[in-house]
Symmetry: C2
Subunit: 479 residues, 2 copies
């Protein structure tokens, strides 16, 4: 039975075909189902529970910082989307248009929000009058739609779930601080909770958000050496405020425009978790967001006392605040072992008649498959310690992957050489000219990922034009 | 200052114009803002926080019952919507249609989900094969769109937030039990947490959901005697299962169709809270969902020690798990008093220098405005007791309104007479013929609300046709 199931569920090895490995996991771990609208997927309970855990963590972070949640409309009238020039240029080509309500043609077509800057701006213009009304620190959890040509579950879909924060401030300084503070929150979410190391930096003008003065980003490296832009935070200056007339009377009673930010993370992070931690057996989930942190699997469960003890153990762990599942189904233990490995459950607890006799159980961790026999009396602490160690270990492993696949290059040839065999991140100097950035993309296939906050001097001159260069940029192939 | 503000924020008395009273509250308590798409509103932080509290309570209830959350796509292809005949007839006239993706015309137009039966069915057909896969107890929190002609914030809008549960079961009995169990959860949510008494019953065929075999409902009475359908739960039998081919191999290995339910509550409940508990000063919020359960207002806050003590008091209450706000802004205490009355905060805590000297503070409850001087040493308990008493009191008041405005009638004339002066609920016998139900609506203006579970015999015959009648039905004008 176990072997049979294993065969059915076989996951393509990642060395053989990384894209197929990814697709196998999202399907076989029951994370998504395809719908009849191309590029729109069903997020199934197991993946949605991960998203709920991410939401809980991040929502807590921003509420502690004074942010409030709201719900903006789903639809943006075409004229409203057009109000900020750069913004509409960036988004209009990829929005879905509603043209009929029932059998009636609409007077003005409405786009399904691809992002909600324009809606927040319209609202802010209504409600902000005085410096007393500032700042407004709003956020919403919702789905947005971008009519992408090529799609992949979690990484790029026509509809995706996200949070979008939109804040307005009386001063530039405060808005800039907000932009960076949120980037720190994103980095903390990724590093501490998702165990994904990230590089913080600023996007070049070519790569920044449509309508932003500055876009900051956290970039993560996947198993295959490609980059995943995992969260972005934008400083808008007063561009939107002027386009939408968001003014306030300051303390001297002079009218001034607000300074604005927006920032977002999405279900794409679930794709990041898969491609950072997963292996050839399936998912490996960070304990902080794993829907099941430990699974209890009774061995010889029909023997007297086994199931009762397993229930006790599960309950005890649940009472300690852990997310624990007892699988007492009719499937064989072997089947269950591979099933929960595939689903990335961090810890498996095996419990059979002999264990019970000796007052112990067997803990098996998902990442290394190491086994440990632990006394039932100290189980809660042992599982908690193991989860903490597990989180640290998968973070370290991901950090090792990042560090050993990031190389410095001084010339275009060195940049190309760095990509031999597999994608990597390449650090190179840059003169600041967008033409050179484009040339690098054309010659190496790599767009810039970011200008990292932690700068190094990996050379003196721009590899394209040879002019003096002071900025170090990370280039890489991205999802 | 206080008087000035009061004037600005004056709410139209409800006796004068109930609809305007409602609109004044949603605007002035900063619950909604209108967007430039008619019928789509911004749900502002204060109202959204109420919704988050409702979500937390109900999500906890259904998760404890084994339900799982998922995310279905926003779009339904026209052909998929058409798969179940009654369903499409009910919804097609009021959906928004997407016809373009970017600049490309879509081959098939997509509707923005008005409800997601068809999407869940398509997914269930993919994933259900054996009795081992059943039941599936799925739910999603999302927004849906119905292109209504006339709209009112929370009560009827073109987009609204809701949860929609969709379950499938191996047996009719289990599905029918689920339908009714969920109705009980809805009633518990309304009565215990929102302090809104409801009448549980079954909808007549004329009023049931498009595609359902049975629709169950909870009906609440608003201040003005009109009904608010506050939650519905549908039993579908095998209609959708047959239209979508949702089959499973049962324990005898015979193919069978699943039995299905769906059920929903929405942000309409926020409208119900306003119209059940609000008064001429503004909102009155049930403590279980009030964003702020108690507000601490320092009096003479510039005197030494006042603000410090107020902070201590607020903190102490927060640590006891209460949602407490300290308003230490520059506004006058009088302004603050009326502001938080308007916002419906259940308890106000006044604290001035003399109170502090005497080790007391003043508690003022929102519903009756009764004041009590309580020692600071026992404040946490006093506030908790007051909130419990407050919840019981506003429930009783609403129940009194319901009971004193529900009348029995034996004839059409008696039914009309019951409505003199104001809307009421009218109990009348009914023969079961849809024609008589329609005649009653035509003659009295009242559609049927439900066939209540708690039946009474208010007469012998149908008031329209005079034939013997065994079912007692509640009629009423509805939002």
């Amino acid at each position: 039975m176990a072997d049979n199931k294993k065969l059915v569920n076989a996951i393509t090895p990642m060395d053989q075909d990384f894209a197929q490995w990814y697709t196998d996991i999202v399907k076989k771990a029951e994370m998504i189902d395809y719908s009849s609208v191309r590029g729109c997927v069903v997020i199934r309970p197991y993946a949605y529970a991960i998203w709920e855990n991410i939401q809980k963590i991040f929502d807590g972070m921003i509420k502690a910082r004074g942010h409030e949640n709201v719900a903006m409309p789903l639809f943006i009238p075409e004229s409203l989307l057009q109000r900020e020039k750069d913004h509409v240029e960036g988004f209009a080509p990829e929005v879905a248009w509603v043209t009929y309500g029932g059998s009636e043609k609409l007077e003005e077509r409405l786009c399904v929000r691809p992002t909600s800057e324009t809606l927040f701006c319209e609202h802010y213009a209504h409600i902000v009058h005085s410096w007393r009304d500032l700042p407004k620190l709003y956020n919403q959890w919702c789905s947005v739609v971008r009519w992408e040509k090529t799609t992949r579950p979690f990484l790029r879909s026509r509809e995706f779930l996200w949070q979008e924060g939109h804040t307005i401030h009386a001063t530039e300084e405060e808005a800039r601080r907000e932009t960076l503070d949120i980037l720190d929150c994103y980095a903390e979410l990724c590093e501490k909770y998702l165990c994904i190391p990230v590089i913080k930096g600023r996007k070049t003008d070519r790569e920044k958000f449509a309508g932003a003065e500055e876009t900051y980003t956290i970039e993560a490296m996947m198993h295959d050496g490609k980059a995943l832009q995992s969260g972005t935070s934008h400083y808008f200056g007063q561009g939107f405020a002027k386009a939408f007339g968001i003014q306030f009377a300051d303390k001297q009673n002079n009218l001034a425009y607000v300074h604005q930010t927006s920032w977002g993370i999405s279900t794409r992070l679930i794709g990041g978790i898969i491609m950072t931690h997963g292996d050839n057996e399936g998912l490996v989930l960070p304990p902080a967001v794993a829907p099941i942190q430990a699974v209890v699997i009774p061995v010889a469960q029909h023997k007297p006392g086994v199931l009762e003890k397993a229930q006790q153990v599960a309950q005890q762990l649940q009472q300690a605040g852990l997310r624990v599942k007892l699988d007492d189904s009719e499937q064989s233990p072997g089947w269950k072992f591979s099933e929960y490995e595939m689903r990335g459950v961090p810890v498996r607890i095996e419990l059979g008649p002999r264990d019970i006799e000796q007052g112990v159980c067997v803990l098996v961790r998902r990442d290394t498959r190491e086994k440990a026999v632990v006394p039932l009396s100290g189980l809660v602490q042992a599982v908690q310690d193991l989860l903490a160690d597990f989180a640290a270990a998968i973070y370290r492993k991901a950090k090792d992957n990042l560090e050993s696949n990031i190389v410095s290059a001084r010339t275009i040839d060195e940049m190309k050489a760095a990509l031999e065999g597999r994608p990597r991140f390449v650090k190179a100097m840059w003169c600041g000219d967008e033409k050179c950035e484009e040339a690098i993309k054309e010659l190496t296939g790599m767009p810039s990922r970011c200008i990292p906050f932690e700068q190094e001097k990996v050379g003196e001159v721009c590899p394209v034009c040879g002019r003096p260069a002071t900025k170090m940029v990370i280039f890489g192939i991205a999802y």
